[in-house]
């Protein structure tokens, strides 16, 4: 690890100023938005307790949905690329399913499960699974043949193959797919919560309505943006940096 870290830190240092600049500007832009909207609305016009509790509930839904979607995506991608038969039957099916408008399912899910988190979680899974599935399929199809041959020759079979070869080889694709999935989840979440009326950041935004509330709404949206930005900074960027280890060249 010592040598790695050394090499890695050198690599990061070379890019550090540009990255820092980029992120600083993003952060400043969001903070400016918040400042502007906060001055336009009365600061206490937003119910912070309700907002943050809502966000926490929404965040936990995204996490649960993501974990399920990731397992489903890995299984689907491995199945769809298993042989030509599966590829010919499953891929067109996945293509159709991918373009299905998820939010259209909400009334159906609410009728089945009632007005609770389950409906939202199912919607989020159907949104999050596709970017990961297609990113993984792309990676599997362009995989280097010699690595798979080396895994076979040196005895990686069954579960051992999954753990020591297949999953590590898919980590970069899984990560880029995950980042897109989370982005789309933050988007669909608001709609899904408003329609199903379970408590969350979306329902909070939905509850604050009326013409005089516009600055408050803009402030709440900016705060939402800040939280998403923070999550990207503390979860996804470090993971992305870590995943370069798993890439060829």
């Amino acid at each position: 690890m010592r040598y790695n870290y050394h090499f890695h830190s050198k690599l990061m240092r070379a890019n550090a100023p540009r990255h820092m600049m980029h992120r600083l500007i993003s952060l400043l832009a969001i903070l400016t938005l918040i400042a502007v909207f906060a001055s336009l609305s009365q600061l206490h016009s937003i119910n912070y307790g309700q907002f943050y509790r809502g966000f926490a509930a929404s965040f936990s839904r995204v996490v649960i949905s993501y974990l399920i979607a990731a397992v489903v995506a890995i299984a689907l991608a491995l199945l769809a690329t298993r042989n030509r038969y599966f590829e010919n039957t499953l891929l067109p099916l996945l293509d159709v399913l991918q373009s299905f408008p998820s939010l259209a399912l909400i009334p159906l899910l609410v009728s089945i499960f009632g007005r609770n988190s389950i409906a939202v979680i199912i919607i989020l899974i159907t949104v999050m699974v596709w970017p990961m599935v297609f990113s993984l399929i792309g990676a599997i199809k362009t995989e280097r043949a010699d690595l798979a041959e080396a895994a076979t020759i040196y005895g990686a079979h069954g579960w051992r193959r999954l753990r020591h070869f297949i999953l590590p080889a898919l980590i970069p694709a899984l990560l880029t797919g995950s980042i897109v999935a989370w982005g789309q989840a933050w988007d669909s979440l608001v709609g899904a919560e408003i329609i199903s009326t379970v408590r969350g950041v979306g329902t909070y935004l939905g509850s604050v309505s009326g013409k005089h509330q516009v600055p408050t709404l803009l402030l709440a949206i900016s705060l939402y943006l800040l939280l998403i930005f923070t999550i990207n900074e503390i979860i996804w960027l470090p993971l992305l940096r870590f995943s370069t280890r798993y890439q060829n060249e």
């Binding site: 280097r144 690595l147 080396a150 895994a151 005895g155 280890r245 890439q247 060829n248």
Partner: protein, 242 residues
């Protein structure tokens, strides 16, 4: 004839490319003696890599037989085939790890491979941080770590610059002299085959037949600038263009 000598008889292999059968190997027969270096030669696309994969158990022949199919195989790849997420020592220990060998034993074997291949100081390095020559040393180390019955090499030096390739050829000879392993190596370079091999098998263009199976008459160590050496190279080249 040694009891571990590999005898290949009338091997045939057909691929289905978009439902059209394409014969890659029509009829290949030869003998690879135990403890010898056999070089498989032929123009590109002549099925020599395909044949090596059949021998390694990665693919199946449609017809023919192979007597004494090796079971424990060390395979060295043209483009190294190293796992990018594993360090040098983890790559070398991969085969043993898959066999559930105790960690202490793996560490010991890996250490001795690293030492003998001149990889000391690079134990924790990732393949992408190494030069081509160093990567192939790791590839050879990974193959030797499992103490294979046979070492199969698929154009192992063709992705390297000539100076590094020459270095690794001598390294391979040292390993062979030290371990006495049976080696089968695919190459398209007549000079490489003349320098390394005990015998040479030449495949024809696709669909492959064995054109010739010839003994290398040169004694070791070999002088690559001697008259005899050039004669052997010329003879191989003549067979290659048949």
């Amino acid at each position: 004839m040694n009891k571990n000598t590999i005898v290949v008889e009338h091997v045939k292999k057909t691929f289905n490319i978009a439902t059209t059968p394409v014969v890659a190997i029509e009829d290949v027969s030869f003998t690879a003696e135990a403890g010898h270096i056999t070089c498989l030669m032929g123009s590109s696309g002549s099925g020599k890599s395909t044949f090596l994969r059949i021998l390694a158990g990665l693919d199946h022949a449609d017809h023919g037989s192979i007597i004494n199919v090796p079971t424990k195989i060390g395979f060295v790849f043209q483009n190294f085939g190293l796992f990018p997420w594993l360090t040098v020592e983890q790559n070398i220990g991969f085969g043993l790890r898959m066999q559930n060998v105790p960690a202490a034993t793996i560490a010991k074997t890996v250490r001795s491979q690293i030492k003998s291949l001149g990889l000391t100081g690079f134990e924790k390095t990732l393949p992408k941080e190494l030069s081509g020559g160093m990567r192939q040393r790791v590839g050879i180390g990974r193959a030797l770590a499992i103490d294979p019955d046979i070492l199969l090499l698929d154009e192992p030096f063709s992705a390297l610059d000539e100076i590094t390739a020459a270095e690794l050829r001598d390294e391979l000879l040292l390993i062979w002299q030290r371990t006495g392993k049976t080696i089968i190596m695919v190459t398209h370079l007549a000079e490489e085959a003349a320098y390394l091999s005990d015998s040479i098998v030449v495949f024809s263009k696709r669909p492959a037949h064995t054109v010739v199976e010839m003994r290398n008459p040169l004694s070791r160590p070999r002088d690559q600038r001697s008259r005899h050496f050039f004669d052997v190279v010329d003879k191989i080249t003549a067979h290659l263009s048949e």
